[in-house]
Symmetry: C2
Subunit: 334 residues, 2 copies
């Protein structure tokens, strides 16, 4: 069974202040929930990604996340253009005046869907890539009793300072395009998005990826063609306000930034009860393994398993790196 649906919550109060008159959570489910409701797997989306991307890259018959075996829930991140976003919210929270949304808000909204609509009390596994990993950590710390296993892939439980300076550069650059007009643009700020894409290219994959000219896989003969052929289309299809909204969600990522933990990061990690495999990528520039290792020292039932890939942060998009990921997911699903 495949189903795409929406779940609407009125007057959704936001963690950082403000509210959404309607918080719409877009999601897709794959497979069938079994009779004892024990086969639910949650896979939140990543920066710019949608449930369709999550489905394509992370699930499939014969893969660890097999819709023949599991009831797989694929929620869309607030700000991704399908769930409530600057691009689809009505006034007075439209476009450049969309309020600040956190990972905590996203997970709270997903919790309502899963418990109230789908009637599920336990998640067999939560996993996701990048911002999907950030949501995975958040789920495990925010609802520790509900998450049996967790596999955050190339993400972090708290956004690091180095990661934040990358996000600052992206934000300043996109806002620099005069067409952007503080978020009330008449047409896409193309030059801004192109500069955004060029910045991203220097972080999304690794130095050896460029040095070995792995960009030839995309038909590119140089760094600049790689930006043109891969990164520009990747971001030009995105709404600029949506990019900035998701970016601020990423920036604020911190599983302890809420009353339950009062900023005590180690306490939030210690509260996680899920069997957890943290999967950083050795060449990931903004989510380096050193941060994952630090997290694992505080999550009780966890281990760190490093993916070795010159694709860096983008490794989970590389078919060659899927077997390592699927092996960990299968182990957690056993």
């Amino acid at each position: 069974m495949t189903r795409t649906d929406f779940f609407d919550v009125p007057n959704f109060m936001l963690q950082k202040g403000g509210m959404l008159p309607t918080a719409r959570l877009s999601y897709k489910t794959l497979g069938t929930l079994n009779s004892d409701r024990s086969n639910a797997v949650l896979v939140p989306s990543w920066y710019t990604g949608t449930h369709a991307d999550t489905e394509m890259f992370m699930t499939g018959t014969g893969r660890a996340l097999d819709p023949q075996k599991y009831f797989i829930i694929l929620p869309d991140l607030l700000g991704n253009g399908l769930s409530t976003s600057p691009s689809n919210a009505p006034a007075p929270v439209d476009r450049g005046r969309f309020p600040r949304v956190t990972i905590h808000d996203n997970v709270r909204l997903q919790y309502q869907l899963i418990t109230e609509v789908l009637g599920i009390e336990t998640l067999r596994l939560v996993t996701g890539w990048s911002m999907g990993a950030c949501q995975t950590y958040q789920w495990a710390a925010q609802y520790p009793g509900m998450v049996r296993a967790a596999c955050p892939i190339a993400g972090s439980a708290r956004t690091a300072s180095f990661n934040k300076v990358f996000l600052l550069a992206l934000k300043r650059t996109l806002e620099l395009d005069p067409t952007f007009a503080e978020g009330f643009y008449e047409r896409a700020p193309v030059a801004g998005l192109r500069a955004f894409a060029a910045i991203y290219a220097g972080w999304g994959v690794s130095e050896p990826f460029f040095r070995t000219e792995a960009y030839r896989l995309f038909g590119a003969g140089s760094h600049e063609e790689f930006v043109q052929y891969f990164w520009e289309p990747f971001f030009l299809k995105c709404d600029a306000n949506n990019l900035l909204s998701q970016l601020s969600t990423w920036l604020d990522g911190d599983i302890s930034a809420n009353p339950a933990y009062g900023g005590d990061f180690h306490a939030a990690l210690r509260a996680i009860r899920a069997r957890t495999i943290v999967m950083p990528v050795d060449h990931d520039r903004y989510f380096p393994p050193v941060d994952a290792e630090e997290e694992v020292r505080h999550i009780p039932n966890s281990e760190c398993r490093v993916i070795n890939s010159i694709w860096g942060h983008m490794a989970p998009m590389n078919p060659g790196d899927s077997p390592a990921i699927d092996a960990a997911l299968s182990e957690l699903l056993e």
Copy 2:
């Protein structure tokens, strides 16, 4: 003896086409040339740097580059605002229409100064940081008979693809500021320079520099204050066209991109006769040690000596990393 001077060459033809009606090379010399003209040391400037910066950070009584012992020549890079630059060139090569200048052009101009004006036939040592290192390699390959020793610090003999994508991001971003006006601005493009500074912050120092909050040395309590307190003033004092001119010089860096070597990079490295110590920094993001090791495999009388520093590319600006550099320079000057 301290002397700041200018050397003017009329109708200076440029490697990539075009010409400068007057190529003015600004330079300063420290110390005294000895009677057999054997104590000359050349230290070219880095990106945004001037001879005053080179003097302050790399020379001094009691240091390896001691003006009491050596005749130290500190030339200014074309485009740095003191030598001929977009900011000081008269029409028709002013501002946004300044022609493309290469490292080869710079070294050729410095060669004229050193041989024709200063009457020097042999350089005891050429050394420099970053683009100063790029000029060091160029000197050693372009005039192999003149350079007895070379110490390129945190630079490369040919700009790598990964480095170029960083430069592309900087260029696209600065040009995005509507105030920039294709180089014919009425006032500094401040917002563009601020975004430029934020991009640079994520490359100029390392991930562990941010992780350990080493930016507290600058009085900064966060990644954003570090950008504000250190990187913004660093670039806001620069002319935007000058930044882009030097950037294109950096981008085109390749000691083999000239008729002498016809693009044969290994042949250009093999032609170097100087005793060479290549000094990359382990945490340098755009000039990684792996590239330096590759160079050393082809430079006959050379070794690679890695500086270990979380300051990354900026290590030579950190007083704590000076002893390692001075030790190598002293060894080459013995």
